[in-house]
Amino acid sequence: MIKVQLFAGLAEEIGARRVELSVPEGTTVQQLKRELARQYPRLTDKLETCMVAVNEEYVDPDENVTSSDTVVLIPPVSGG
């Protein structure tokens, strides 16, 4: 099980700030996004423009994640 944190429009869209996905340990970020889109089809478009942060660092789509990682979806930022 991998926990994923959501912010802003993503969290609002599904009414949750945290979801758990049953994916194998060591799955890639890309696969994780695909599984999310499968479970939450409404997120599909938004997921395409999202980055993923693992343990507070942006990672590439082919990065592997495990259940001990802090995984966060980062929609396009708009601070400042």
């Binding site: 980055m51 708009s78 601070g79």
Partner: protein, 158 residues
């Protein structure tokens, strides 16, 4: 550099304190930047804004920006604070202060900081109007990340 130099806050930004954090005997110049909530954007009237942050990572990324500046300008001092929660018109959303021995570097570093913040610090803004609201960066006309990582130039509030 003190960690408190980079913070996310829910309170009104204490601008004077931010400047105090960077003033230094070796400095002759302090450049600051404040992003304030503007009432009109593309002719549309904003009622208020709502900011949300992934706090831990946002503070870490602001500190990284400070480190990048100090790498370019070893004698600089940097402080950045970003406010979250509900912000009304004219409220200060972000404040940056950079001191350097000479003014050219202070201006350059301050500009660099705001561009980098808009590029990659995980903070989001929701605009509220009379007739609705939306998360900036969440709509078609805004930034997308074809490379999976932030690129320069998104929708601008200031």
């Amino acid at each position: 550099m003190d960690v408190r130099n980079y913070s996310i806050t829910e309170k009104e930004i204490d601008f004077q304190e931010l400047v105090r954090q960077v003033i230094h005997p070796r400095s002759g110049a302090v450049a600051t930047f404040l992003g304030t909530v503007r009432e009109l954007t593309n002719g549309k009237r904003t009622l208020f804004l709502e900011y949300e942050a992934y706090v831990e990572m946002a503070e870490k990324k602001m500190r990284q920006i400070g480190d990048e500046i100090q790498e370019q300008f070893p004698e600089s001092n940097v402080a950045i604070v970003h406010r979250i929660g509900r912000l009304d018109i004219s409220d200060i959303a972000v404040a940056i202060a950079v001191s350097t021995p000479h003014r050219q570097e202070a201006f350059a570093a301050c500009r660099y900081a705001i561009e980098r913040i808009k590029e990659m610090v995980p903070i989001w803004k929701k605009e509220h109007w009379e007739d609705g609201s939306y998360w900036v960066g969440d709509q078609l006309e805004t930034t997308c990340y074809p490379q999976g990582k932030p690129i320069l130039g998104g929708q601008e509030n200031d």
